[in-house]
């Protein structure tokens, strides 16, 4: 398709000007008399009530944090509390127009947003729906507490308000009756049945995750919009800016669904409270002056950017309703700069060294809640005494909720002594769900039998050698690329939610040809080229998966993992367990380990990903294993980092009898594979070094009469050591080989584990042969950096069992090791 988009030099050099539209700044200017025509008295009073509830909730937490007591009830809460006192009007104004289908994502300062969206949803659901939601959530365990102790006389809406306040507070106090069993806490609480999606303690991280939720809606034609809430401080973060661009990219309206023009249904909503912790965004740490200005930099619609008075709930309602309408008309994305202030500071320990008492007082004087009250009295909607009664009721309710949430019997903490697997059981979902939406036909451009890649795969020879033992030519052999592609294309025809994207995936066919000939078969909105925005690529996959979809995203080179560090390490890895198992994360993140491309394009970073709890990590090195592991990854519901090696994409199947089956099959994650049987030494390999290990095994056999058993790890997390331990019990000797730099590698971790597990059977130390602790040099010096067959033999000779007649070229001795470690190389 982009071939049809001709890049015309004439047009490129055409003189002219870029024109900008005026960006509205606080233009809302209605009188109470005009507003009374829009809102009923009940609406206006409910808006007030919601703000007052949030204020009281945050005041309670502030009192607990600063005085260890609220309204006479004592409690000590060591956990975090980033309060939003002052931001209530912004939160309530936003939630007013949103429905259950509309999803909100927030930040570490999101108590107010959770409560506002929850109260809005309670108002919109009928009693039966509301009760069912509460009853079904976590098997009714949260409802049971409020029903027993605060049942509101059978009024379901009032009961639901108690449920909302209790579920959120119990979560903040890390109780098992909290919305996420206490595993999320203050900065991460959420409640999906009300459209309240996870809140994120990493500044700006909500943007790409919310983008993914919008992508889910856009690609699967689901109703509703997505709101990404974050602060002005987050506007300095790459992931936020990447998401603005990703959501704006031309193809969404011009190329997807034949260019029907539906934009990304996302509202980037900045609660602009003037500070990123203590850094003043306007005047100190940023240059945009007003956040709304950013919109003009991202697309010709200027993201419909607007700045509104976040101290006036009705101004916010007006703005959000208009943005929502734009998004529903397919004109997204949108950007709102909601001006507000948090008088309570960054956290209760904030001593406000960065602002003056006069400034705080001025904002207190402008407090949105008394201001709105005055407006309602002026409009004759309620009297002073009505408000007094309302406040008394809210304070009583909050006190009762707090008493429930701190009661260790009613609201216990997770008991890891009685139930040691409580957290470990939530690290992975380990489900087998081949199709995430079986009721819907997958959208494809051609029937499967006409898919060019499917047709090509049918012509491939599925073994490395022919019947006469001659190697099959490179062009005809079914290689690792094919082993990866086959289950992927199969899955596209099976699971309608599957999408795949990354840099140069579509027309280019993936930088290394894994996706070639798929473009003709998969529609744009399921398979597309992402901008060079690794954070947004991985972060959006996380949001996509949270909503119930399955995504394959690609980072091209493993070296780019650093560009998506937070999204891989904090988002993809953690949400299943931080949600107490409520969320699933069916993502395959493909990363390719390079060679020949120097220091920044040749690194095996398995250790980085294996270090982070919550990620599965695999690294196949044969077509059979590539297919079986990809199939298992795509049938599962866990995040998988799928390592590939550019050295061996062309390899045919040399090991599996009968070659690579055409039918789908799975390889169990964690199960290593004996690629060569031996009895004297075990060589355990990670990734492409398998072939160098086999070369070493051949030399050991032929030259030294040593029979090596070669085991391919295939998976790194999870990993079943039993096969390896059995082998080491037999051989007494073990060398672990991989292309990663040796220090702090997966090889080192495995060596330590195997030593522990098979110590009494060892005839020498478990020895690691990894790459040097250097930068990767040029390709011509490859053999001096990456492990070679001779290195493996040298290591055996010097560390485990001297080989008669062998002269080692590499120094694996203890003295040398100490010297290198001392120098840090």
């Amino acid at each position: 398709m982009p071939k049809s988009q001709y890049v015309d030099p004439k047009k490129a050099f055409e003189p002219g000007f870029i024109h900008f539209e005026d960006i509205p700044v606080c233009q809302y200017n209605k009188t109470i008399e005009e507003e009374k025509k829009i809102y009923s008295n009940e609406d206006l009073m409910r808006i007030y009530r919601d703000m007052a509830i949030i204020r009281e909730f945050e005041t309670m937490l502030n009192d607990v944090k600063t005085k260890s007591s609220y309204n006479g009830v004592e409690y000590n809460n060591p956990g975090p509390a980033h309060l939003s006192i002052g931001q209530e009007a912004s939160a309530v104004g936003q939630a007013y127009s949103l429905n259950i289908n509309d999803l909100t994502f927030g930040s570490h300062r999101s108590h107010g947003e959770i409560l506002a969206k929850g109260l809005s949803s309670i108002q919109k659901l009928d009693d039966k729906e509301l009760y069912d939601v509460m009853k079904e959530f976590l098997d009714g365990s949260v409802l049971a507490v409020v029903e027993k102790h605060m049942n509101a006389g059978g009024n379901v809406k009032e009961l639901a308000i108690n449920f909302l306040l209790y579920g959120a507070l119990a979560e903040i106090f890390a109780r098992t009756t909290g919305f996420n069993r206490g595993l999320g806490g203050s900065m991460h609480a959420f409640f999906i049945p009300f459209g309240i999606m996870p809140n994120n303690a990493i500044v700006g991280a909500a943007a790409p995750v919310a983008l993914g939720a919008a992508l889910y809606k856009r690609s699967n034609h689901k109703k509703g919009i997505v709101v990404a809430n974050f602060g002005d401080g987050a506007c300095g973060r790459g992931p936020a800016l990447e998401s603005f661009n990703f959501a704006s990219m031309d193809q969404i309206t011009k190329l997807w669904n034949d260019g029907k023009g539906e934009g990304m249904p996302i509202l980037f909503n900045v609660f602009n409270n003037h500070y990123g912790m203590g850094g003043q965004t306007r005047g100190e740490t940023m240059g945009f002056d007003m956040v709304a200005r950013l919109g003009a930099g991202f697309n010709p619609t200027q993201m419909h950017a607007e700045r509104v008075n976040g101290y006036d709930p009705l101004a916010v309602i007006d703005a959000v309703a208009r943005k929502k309408k734009l998004l529903e008309e397919g004109k997204g994305p949108a950007l709102l700069d909601v001006v507000t202030y948090r008088v309570s500071g960054h956290s209760p320990s904030d001593s406000s060294t960065y602002r003056t008492p006069e400034e705080i007082q001025a904002w207190k004087d402008a407090d949105p809640i008394p201001a709105f009250k005055a407006k309602l009295i002026l409009g004759g909607i309620a009297k002073e005494e009505d408000f007094a009664a309302l406040h008394e009721e809210i304070t009583n309710r909050m006190t009762a909720i707090m008493k429930l949430a701190i009661n260790d019997e009613i609201s216990p903490r997770m008991d890891l002594e009685k139930n040691p697997a409580a957290i470990s059981g939530m690290m992975f979902s380990n489900l087998h769900v081949p199709n995430l939406e079986p009721d819907r036909e997958p959208e494809m451009l051609v029937p499967k039998e006409e898919c060019p890649r499917v047709r090509e795969l049918k012509t491939k020879v599925r073994t490395a050698t022919d019947a006469n033992g001659k190697p099959v030519s490179k062009m005809k052999v079914y290689n690792i690329r094919d082993g990866l592609a086959e289950p992927i294309i199969d899955k596209f025809y099976e699971d309608p939610t599957l999408i795949a994207y990354g840099e140069d995936n579509r027309d280019w066919g993936g930088a290394f040809g894994v996706y070639k000939k798929m473009t003709e078969a998969i529609p744009y909105h399921r398979f597309f080229n992402a901008p060079i925005s690794e954070s947004a690529i991985v972060g959006s996959a996380v949001g996509y998966a949270m909503c119930g979809g399955r995504a394959i995203v690609e980072l091209m080179y493993a070296d780019f993992i650093g560009c998506a560090g937070d999204e891989i390490f904090n988002q993809m890895a953690k949400w299943q367990s931080m949600s107490a198992g409520i969320l699933k994360m069916p993502i395959v993140l493909r990363v390719s380990v390079g060679s020949k491309y120097g220091a920044q394009h040749s690194q095996d970073w398995t250790a980085l990903t294996a270090h982070i709890p919550g990620l599965k990590v695999v690294f196949p090195s044969t077509p059979y294993d590539a297919k079986g592991l990809m199939q298992a990854a795509l049938n599962g519901t866990d995040p998988v980092i799928f390592f590939e090696s550019q050295r061996i994409y062309d390899k045919g199947e040399e090991f599996h009898e009968g070659g690579v089956p055409a039918e789908p099959y799975e390889i169990t994650f964690g199960d290593p594979d004996v690629k060569r049987v031996g009895k004297d030494v075990t060589i355990l390999t990670i990734g492409a070094v398998l072939y160098r290990a086999l070369e070493a095994a051949k030399i050991l056999e032929e030259k030294y009469g040593v029979s090596a058993e070669v085991i391919d790890t295939r998976s790194i997390v999870p990993f079943d050591y039993s096969k390896v331990v059995e082998s080491v019990k037999k051989t007494g000797k073990c060398v672990i080989v991989g292309d990663a730099v040796e220090r702090n590698s997966v090889m080192r971790d495995m060596a330590s584990n195997i030593t522990e597990m098979a110590f009494d059977y060892l005839d020498g130390p478990v020895t690691v042969v990894g790459s040097r602790n250097w930068i990767t040099p040029c390709f011509e010096l490859d053999h001096m950096f990456f492990p070679q067959a001779e290195w493996i033999i040298d290591a055996i000779h010097e560390k485990i069992m001297p080989l008669p007649g062998h002269v080692a070229k590499n120094n694996f001795t203890t003295i040398e090791k100490i010297e290198r470690a001392k120098k840090g190389v």
Binding site: S4, Q5, Y6, D8, D258, G259, K260, K458, T459, K460, V461, R462, T463, A464, T465, D466, A467, V472, S473, K474, M475, K476, R481, G509, G513, K516, K596, D650, E653, E654, F655, E657, G658, G659, R676, V677, G678, K679, E702, K703, Y704, G705, S707, G732, F759, D760, Y761, L762, D763, G764, E798, K799, I800, M801, P802, P804, G805, T813, T814
Partner: protein, 416 residues
Amino acid sequence: MATAVIMPRQGQSVESCVITSWSKKVGDEVKIGDILFSYETDKSSFDEEATVEGTLLAIFKEEGEDVPCLENVCVIGKPGEDFSQFAPKEESAAPAEAAPAAKEEVKAAPASVAESTAEAGSEKISPRARALAEKTDVDLSRVVPTGPEGRIIERDVQAALDAGFLKGAAAPVAAAAPAAVVSTEPEYVEEKISNVRKVIAKSMHASLSTMAQLTLNASFDATKIMEYRASLKASAESMNLANITLNDIVLFAVSRTIGDFRDLNAHFLDDKMRYFNHVNLGIAVDTERGLLVPTLPHAEELSLNALSTQAKVLITEAQSGKISPDKLSGASFTVTNLGSMGVESFTPVVNPPQVGILGVCTITRRIKITAAGDVSYPAMGLSLTFDHRAIDGAPAAKFLQALCKNLEHFDLLLAK
């Protein structure tokens, strides 16, 4: 002297390429820049152009052959010239594998069983060797360490045992034989393609590979033409009118509009433009044999009824396969219709050397905002592909705009 053409190496990792097609045959004249053959790697496909002039003397590699890079593929020279030196050598036996190194009987290091000088208690011994020693009651003081850093390893204990100091050990287990590998044959059916298909394939490919095509999509309010058609239908019999279709109405509107946009009613002939004084409308027809495009000459002179009648005759002739080849050429602009199959927008491919082609799409309901509120109306889509070499985007868009306007106000157009 003759020149050999080799299979180029398209990148360091490419070892061989498959020849997908030959554009020249032996005996053909070859000019510099002519495409000799096409070939593909596992990632992309390429055309090989001639870099010398002459006659194609020999082809060494056929279509479908997997040719190692840098090997000779064909020879260009003067007719009759000797080219035998370039022919591939007779398949000599594959370079014999390096003779296997003479197998030496390698045995474990001969552990000379001598009196150990190591002090008791200070010796290093692996856990495995110690376990063996304990199990067999070997005299450790007489075991000679051969492990790294003076460590007694399993083989040392074993050697001591073998030397007859103590009990013997079990024989080693033989390694299992490696599994055999069996290949599978791919299954498929090949059918020759028809000549019509070949012509279509060639012209479509030529069109897309030589022209700078792009498509503009627009839609118009089809209320008027639908009403007009309904009224025609009602009085067709009484007024002896043909069954005028929406497509006929679009053809009519094109014939009356395109005259004002001579760049589109034209042929692009590389160094010159041929502007037509009449509108010769090509009408794309789907037939059993494939796509045919009969021409309706001087369409702008025909009444709507005459245009409809003549178009039907052409379509019927094309579908029956009896149409004269003369009627399949000479079009100045083409109209194609996928709307009847529900297509909402598409990318028609220009029939060279014409400059443009109009795709007629289906009718969908859309909303427009009027003073009276939001109203739904039938929107018919039009997809205009044009050759950017001949005409720029803005004038092409103006044509599309004018056409939409004329269709929206069809009654006025008829009055002209």
